[in-house]
Subunit: 93 residues, 2 copies
């Protein structure tokens, strides 16, 4: 229980930043390119890439190269339900 709390807290910390949260929300829908996320979020390239690096380190997303693009997707099945619940509670008016 204590260990589960440690692990959940680590994941929550990764989610507890507005930009990272929006990135993850997008990825719940489907794979995305770094450039797509930059544009839809209106954030700078370096910053988005930096946040993605952090999410990668935490094991929450993974990426594959596709030509000069990098396609990101969620890689921890535990976070999808969490994001969905957050969406229901904070985004449906």
């Amino acid at each position: 229980m204590r260990d589960a709390a440690e692990e959940a807290a680590t994941v929550l910390k990764a989610l507890s930043n507005p930009s990272r949260l929006l990135i993850l929300c997008q990825l719940v829908e489907e794979e995305r390119t770094v450039g797509e996320m930059e544009k839809s979020l209106g954030l700078g390239q370096a910053y988005v890439s930096q946040q993605l690096a952090r999410l990668r380190d935490e094991g929450l997303v993974s990426a594959t190269r596709d030509g000069r693009l990098m396609r990101y997707r969620l890689s921890d099945p535990r976070v999808t339900p969490v994001i969905r619940t957050l969406y229901e509670q904070f985004c449906s008016q």
Copy 2:
């Protein structure tokens, strides 16, 4: 969407600490006294009280005095589903 993300991220930050998360997990079940939480979590009095103060500031819990005891409960209906989802994902082996 941006505002919702800001708000959700603020709540997630409050949840992203193992002690606070365990406190909130307990409160999903039922009201609890500071002393009860101290004992069941094995944490010091000052520390528990400090984390509760933070959760109060964020509006996630509220308390009422009952003699010399303080009874805490969840006060933001949005967090209960989030905690339940976390429990399903991180605590059911």
